[in-house]
Symmetry: C2
Subunit: 270 residues, 2 copies
């Protein structure tokens, strides 16, 4: 097989298997090429991945070594995409009762979700993350987009348990400004204890939902090493109950009556 | 830029932009290459995509023409992956009360979801689909995986409406063998009327949930052109309320008491 063909096959493989180590002999076998040829291929791929702003190939020497594609995306490209998203969110027709924002159309777009996943994967690239956790429903596509790049599983906390999945841990928590008591449930077999986890969600106001998730995760001895929210709503005079998180979009002065809203890039871009 | 570098960049572009047409001049501009060079690149890419079993490049001539990557995945590779999944599902520890099966760990694996998305994208490649519809919660990752390959949005039907998203359509339906009355809700602005839609879900027994979705979608004048379920449970003496669907996995003779289950490849592979 020609080098040009191998490079196409290898690009497809690495893009579809982020953070998965493959050893040199598997590649030489698949493409019937010498180790030195494949080694040169990997150099070419690495340089081009860096040029395109999509990450690097990490090569580990030794008998158990191999090559893994580590996604790390150009911040300029993220900024461009999220800025586009900000513009769309500025539409006053999106303002919902309670200071929420209609985002279902954007959350339903797999391409936008991929861009959101890329930004978080880059922001958290150097953290050791074993699983991405979210609570149903709207944070789910963000969780999968991120988990895909990190090559880790997604764990979904439920609002209520329909079918018994064995013993579960549940907590009650007070949801943000609505002050309503809500429930979260996670079956024990869905998350093994002692993992490093990343929490993601679509929207954060006071942070009650994320605090609830953190409390529930404590019961699983999980260590929350990263928190990412797509959009946070910042209201003057309201204090956050959590501090250490990353946002891609910030909403300020959401005014239901005047139908006005200010949308900015979030903390990832500051 | 060398051909080898361009091929890497173009592979990355096409894999990440399925079914999105790009015109030749955008490519020549980006890579500062002649039209004839890029045209040769596209031939090389197309041949290698076919060789790797991941689809083809579809080229449309003319002023508004261009090239789009049409994903179409090798059925042998799908069979291998779904067979693996079947083996995992055969574990009697997975049997849940009511004849359901514990699948959350598999649904939480983004790589497995991608494989499921690939199979459905191939099965439905020749249908004109405008949106993928599912009902929360477990069908969501399947919907996104498929929608990603089809380059269409995902619409999620909710079990209940927490925050008002404007006027909604809701229906009550009887859920399968449990004979419980359940609700489904879809805000009107989440789905424009008259679209061709594909329904997906993780699990089907009698088909009550999918019938519910179909009834709700009628209110949006949507035409259901395809239905895909990851796993269907076939019980003797039970009749399906829907017929025209595609499954990847079939469960037979789920026996809670004897802790036995038979798992087969679904109708896609027949």
């Amino acid at each position: 097989m020609k080098r040009s063909d191998r490079l196409i096959g290898l690009t497809n493989y690495f893009i579809n298997h982020p953070r998965e180590r493959i050893n040199l002999s598997s590649i030489t076998k698949k493409y019937e090429a010498s180790k030195s040829s494949i080694s040169e291929d990997l150099d070419i791929l690495n340089n081009m991945f860096i040029y395109e702003g999509i990450g690097t190939l990490k090569r580990t020497p030794g008998a158990h070594g191999g090559t893994a594609y580590i996604p790390f995306f150009d911040k300029g490209q993220s900024r461009k995409c999220i800025s586009n998203l900000c513009e769309k969110l500025e539409d006053p027709e999106r303002i919902l009762p309670g200071g929420y924002l209609y985002m279902s159309d954007l959350l339903g777009d797999p391409k936008i979700m991929n861009e959101v996943g890329k930004a978080f994967a880059t922001a958290f690239a150097n953290k050791k993350i074993d699983a991405v956790v979210t609570v149903e429903t709207k944070g789910i596509p963000i969780a999968y987009a991120l988990a895909n790049f990190l090559n880790v599983p997604v764990v979904i906390i439920r609002r209520n348990l329909k079918v018994t999945e064995g013993s579960s841990v549940s907590i009650n928590y007070v949801s943000g400004q609505s002050q309503r008591i809500q429930t979260m449930v996670l079956p024990k077999r869905n998350l093994q204890p002692g993992l490093n986890v990343c929490i993601v969600d679509d929207f954060m106001k006071a942070g009650g939902t994320i605090t609830g998730m953190m409390n529930l995760l404590e019961e699983f001895d999980a260590k929350v090493v990263a928190i990412g929210v797509l959009a946070e709503s910042i209201a003057e005079g309201h204090e956050r109950v959590i501090n250490d998180y990353m946002s891609l979009i910030q909403l300020k002065n959401v005014n239901e009556k005047a139908k006005k809203i200010e949308v900015y890039l979030g903390s990832y871009f500051h």
